[in-house]
């Protein structure tokens, strides 16, 4: 792998950009691998990268039914933060945030992690109490999060309307300064490049259609549209399609898949300095480096694999955006899309062993797993390599819905993403 650097850019500029090599190889699948990861999103590609880099397991394939990063990795609004309420959540999201901070250097790939601050708006007493509880819990745990007055919030984000007469008045905000955004595609591509360089096979257009098990119940491989591929271990990291794949091994997971939408505006000059989220009126907004306003909406109320979503959902979000930021009322929206998100009953992720030996699962990241990508991938690699969870992911087990040890961010999370 040729290193990316300013010298490489200059060198290629001098010779007509003819020397850039493919970022990852596209080999024919082998007959058998030590481990197969199902799903070429950020979580799956990252897990393969860390398996190779930190556990020396390089005979690995990532099987992706479409193109890598074409799932939720490439469809999300890229909000990154770690100010969750429970220790299990803080552990994994903060682990991820620390990895985000050095990810571009580690991968030699600019993932454009931009700690521009994530500000969550409080609109009523309930929000205020809940956010302050988060601020205190986070600070006690060593995670930055601070309470702002409406005036401080306005100073941090000038387009915000803090008038008392506003449709959705603001009584304060919680700010995590280290939160921000990153470039979604670059995360998938950077991990793919790093993994491929270490010998991992990235196999696109390869859909897993069955999981095969030996007489003792242990996994032996998967059927795909490109034939049978053997594996001693299988890690499923397929976001919205996890239920479909786990059913192939007769494992029921407590997930419901539904569409979540986002949309972007026409490109504008730099106008929006941070990320603002409002859970109460359900709107999320930031500005990409291309200049588009990136806006996240809510999920539909029914299970679906349609990757579209209802128009009333985005209308509702745009209503809120126009009230919070009156200056955006005449901005045109350019594109809208949906991704299929996998939600658990307690709205916390599942990462762990399954009742099937050799089969591991990473799912349930739902509407908010992009921010977890490096952390989740890192710990999923540990799980697959060692056969048991890392300390930081030990609470995310599949059996918690039987034992009752829920991680109830559903009730406690300040916001959905």
């Amino acid at each position: 792998m040729r290193k990316y650097s300013v010298f490489a850019v200059v060198r290629e500029a001098m010779r007509g950009h003819k020397g850039w090599e493919a970022q990852w190889a596209s080999p024919e699948p082998r007959k058998e691998y030590d481990a197969i990861i199902v799903g070429g999103g950020g979580h799956g590609l990252g897990a393969a990268y860390y398996l190779a880099k930190e556990h020396g397991i390089t005979n690995v394939a990532v099987l992706e039914k479409g193109w890598i990063g074409g799932g939720n990795t490439g469809r999300n609004t890229t909000i990154i933060r770690s100010n969750y309420l429970y220790e299990e959540s803080m552990d994994i999201y903060e682990h991820a945030l620390k990895l985000w901070e050095g990810l571009s250097q580690d991968l030699n790939y600019n993932v454009m992690y931009s700690p521009r601050g994530v500000m969550m708006l409080s609109h009523n007493i309930h929000d205020q109490q809940s956010f302050k509880r988060h601020v205190h819990a986070n600070r006690l745990y060593g995670i930055d999060n601070e309470w702002l007055t409406p005036e401080q919030a306005k100073a941090y984000c000038p387009p915000l309307d803090i008038a008392k007469t506003a449709r959705y008045p603001i009584n304060g905000a919680a700010l995590q300064r280290r939160g921000g955004t990153a470039r979604h595609d670059a995360v998938a591509w950077g991990y793919a490049r790093g993994a491929s360089d270490r010998g991992v096979h990235i196999i696109q257009n390869c859909e897993v259609t069955a999981i095969r098990r030996g007489p003792d119940g242990v996994v032996i491989g998967v059927d795909t549209n490109r034939g049978f591929i053997g594996a001693k271990k299988i890690g499923v990291s397929a976001a919205g399609h996890t239920s479909v794949i786990m059913n192939m091994a007769d494992v029921r997971v407590p997930l419901q898949s539904s569409p979540l939408q986002a949309l972007v505006s026409e490109p504008l000059k730099p106008i929006f300095p941070c990320v603002v989220m409002s859970n109460t009126v359900h709107a999320y907004i930031s500005q990409s480096d291309k200049g588009e306003l990136v806006i996240g909406a809510g999920t539909d109320q029914y299970n679906s694999y349609s990757q579209t979503g209802g128009i009333q959902i985005i209308e509702h979000t745009l209503d809120a955006i126009c009230e919070l930021f009156p200056m955006f009322r005449r901005v045109k929206m350019m594109r809208q899309w949906g991704g299929i998100v996998d939600n658990t009953p307690d709205r916390s992720a599942i990462q762990g062993v399954t009742p099937v030996p050799g089969l591991f699962v990473n799912c349930g990241w739902g509407t908010g797993g992009f921010k977890a990508t490096p952390g989740s991938a890192h710990l999923f690699a540990h799980l697959i390599a060692r056969g048991e969870p890392h300390r930081l992911a030990a609470g995310l087990t599949l059996d918690r819905f039987r034992t009752g040890r829920l991680i109830d961010e559903a009730a406690a999370a300040a916001v959905a993403h």
Binding site: S243, R252, P254, Y302, S304, Q307, T308, W337, R402
Partner: protein, 113 residues
């Protein structure tokens, strides 16, 4: 936005009038205190999440207010049938009408270049 036929009002109305209420045909155990943790997990947390035919409850909350059941294809979102609460689960083929996910880009704008 979905168009939903309420079997009580005998009319198709916009999704805005309805509230989705999750899996249909879930029977609560008559001796709930006695069942095992596994059984409770299955009853309380595990839901069907098929790529294909789903049987679910809806409530015509801004209409007649009544609960009814529906069979819907989760790939196309098309309702195959709605039926009154208490009626048996219809015997319908579980596979989706099309297996391919309806991708916004491909469906509307042709192949990605």
């Amino acid at each position: 936005m979905l168009l939903i036929y309420c079997p009580y009002c005998e009319e198709e109305r916009s999704e805005l009038e309805f509230r989705g209420a999750g899996d249909a045909h879930i029977a609560r155990s008559t001796n709930i205190a006695a069942i095992s943790d596994e059984e409770f997990e299955a009853y309380f947390f595990l839901r069907e999440n098929p790529k294909g035919m789903i049987f679910e409850r809806w409530r015509h909350i801004h209409g007649c207010g009544r609960f009814f059941n529906a069979a819907r294809d989760t790939v196309s979102d098309r309702f195959v049938k709605t039926y009154k609460a208490g009626e048996p689960k219809p015997d319908l083929h579980p596979a989706p009408a099309t297996a391919a996910t309806v991708e916004t880009y491909e469906a509307l704008e042709g192949d990605a270049q």
